[in-house]
Amino acid sequence: MENKIKHEVKPYMNPYLAGFLLGVVLMITFFITGRGLGASGAIKSAVIVTVGKIAPATAQKSSFFEEYFSGAHSPLKSWLVFEVLGVLIGGFLSGFLSGRLTLKIDKGPKVKNITRLIFAVVGGSLFGIGSQLGRGCTSGAALSGMAVFSTAGFLTMMAIFGTGYIIAYFFRKLWI
């Protein structure tokens, strides 16, 4: 059974080819729209709209949510939201064509499912906070910033990966 599934799964693309194609897409994005690719910004829009709808009283207390009340149209009508919809479609298409659509939890061999999921939530929360301070995540700040030679992009990238390498040893049981 296991073997049969593995046979149908196509191998991943050569990383250098994937990187080259991704770089070309990023360059075209800048050429057409004047801005780069991103991801966390769309989630920010979703959070702002959700909080604004469900708990307007909470939202009014912090200027972070003011876009919900002041904008001419919904924060969901933004470039990044449409781009992220595209990412979801593109990711699904790729997974479908390569036979990788399966429900599963990826984790290190020594970790229980529940541990992996708890750490995923914690890691996601940290990425949520970090991406707000860094004004973008690995895509919007680091990768897009690198493409236009921005100091902020290189600095954020070095901080992300530098920290990763420094602390990797302490969390090795999660992955190896």
Binding site: Y16, L117, A120, G124, G130, I160, F161, T163, G164
Partner: protein, 405 residues
């Protein structure tokens, strides 16, 4: 030429369409590269799989090199690109927190989306975490704000920060990338862990390295960077457009536009900030003549579906501003003929006589009268109360506006 949408070369309404298409390409490539697996992503920190470094570095170098060449050829104007602003400590601390997030969560935001959509349950939880994190940041924003908005250093370029030229920076970036590829390949080959994750198409390292090396050499051997702006007009073209008076737009058209609350014109006041604050036409934006070629100003010179009209007290300063930005490469920029002085004379003083009884003359006189009441009664500042009954000035003014030189 580029970027296309900020300069209105492609209609801005298509922006969301491009967002979707480019997003699909982005997501497809991320998933194809294996970024939908947290184990492969985490491998970069433990030496068993360097797919993150390979893809990320190749993409960054490719895009940076491509934009470098597009800029050199004058095909893309860097002044109009979004360059990430640098808030020093916010960027560093944000990056450190994201580093923790990466190790603990095994994803970054973009990769978690492609993983979630193909059924990775750990990615769903990561995304829930991101919602929580951003929510917490939002609720406690007053606490984060001093850090978030502090130590602002503009939007510097890395080569300026390091004090080297752009092409040398690009060269060293490529050299570092190539070394990183070779070293990590060695580490990966010697790692015995998790070979099953390396279900990847094989391709010799030779080709990417050779390709990058050629790019680096071309970048270094390029002759001196051209100094012209992206769309700079030639002297001959400028001579022609200066002699033409098509750039002038008359008082009535501008007044008509303001009164009827039509959004066809985008007014820019090129006088000083103080003069602007004392008085300006309703809806006008202020960009003083001296600042007109600043990157921040250039981004505000055109608005979607509108014709830009520059004005000053007379036509002189507006004409100078018009010259600078037209030479720089903008088209369809207009100048309010006679400036505010003529505007004031035409609308407020009853000097203008209308000879003849032709339909045009009568309706123009009636329009001026209406406009006078409008501006005098201060309704200009209260856009909602504008009445639709105000007659049009002679000839259809807006067609002429859109024609352009």
């Amino acid at each position: 030429m580029g970027p296309l949408i900020p300069q209105d070369i492609i209609n801005g309404d298509l922006n969301f369409f491009f967002a979707l298409i480019l997003g699909i390409a982005f997501g497809f490539i991320l998933e194809q590269a294996g970024f939908s697996s947290s184990r492969k992503l985490a491998g970069v920190f433990y030496g068993y799989d360097f797919v993150v470094l390979k893809v990320f570095f190749t993409a960054g170098v490719t895009a940076a090199t491509g934009l470098f060449f597009l800029k050199y050829l004058g095909w893309v104007n860097f002044d109009l690109l979004y360059i990430n602003p640098l808030y020093l400590w916010s960027a560093i601390i944000g990056g450190i927190i994201m580093g923790f997030g990466f190790i603990l969560g095994g994803f970054c935001p973009g990769t978690s989306l492609t993983a979630a959509v193909i059924g990775k349950i750990d990615a769903w939880f990561f995304i829930i975490g991101m919602f929580l994190g951003i929510f917490v940041f939002g609720v406690f924003y007053p606490f984060f704000k001093p850090l978030h908005m502090g130590s602002f250093l503009g939007s510097p370029f890395i080569y300026d920060t390091l004090g080297i030229s752009q092409k040398w920076f690009l060269f060293w970036l490529i050299v570092i990338a190539v070394i990183a590829f070779m070293v990590t390949q060695l580490i990966e080959d010697n790692s015995t862990k998790f070979k099953e994750l390396h279900n990847t198409q094989k391709l010799s390292l030779k080709y990417p390295v050779l390709f990058l090396f050629i790019l680096a050499c071309i970048a270094l051997w390029l002759p001196q960077q051209r100094l012209s702006f992206a769309n700079e007009k030639t002297k001959e073209v400028m001579t022609k457009v200066i002699l033409s008076d098509k750039r002038y737009i008359n008082t009535e058209k501008v007044a008509y536009n303001i009164i009827n609350n039509q959004k066809d014109l985008y007014l820019i006041d090129v006088r000083s900030v103080q003069e602007y604050n004392d008085f300006h036409l309703p809806g006008a934006n202020n960009i003083p003549l001296n600042d007109i070629l600043n990157p921040s100003s250039l981004k505000n010179l055109v608005q979607k579906d509108k014709s830009t009209v520059l004005y000053s007290n007379s036509s002189v300063n507006a004409d100078m501003a018009w010259f600078l930005i037209t030479r720089y490469g903008f088209d369809n920029i207009y100048v309010l003929n006679g400036g505010l002085n003529k505007f004031y004379n035409d609308i407020f003083l009853e000097k203008k006589t209308h000879e003849g009884n032709s339909v045009e003359a009568v309706s123009e006189a009636r329009f001026i009268k209406e406009a006078r009441t409008f501006f005098k009664e201060g309704r200009a500042n209260n856009e909602s109360s504008v009445e639709k009954s105000i007659p049009k000035p002679t000839d259809a003014p807006l067609k002429a506006v859109k024609g352009g030189c």
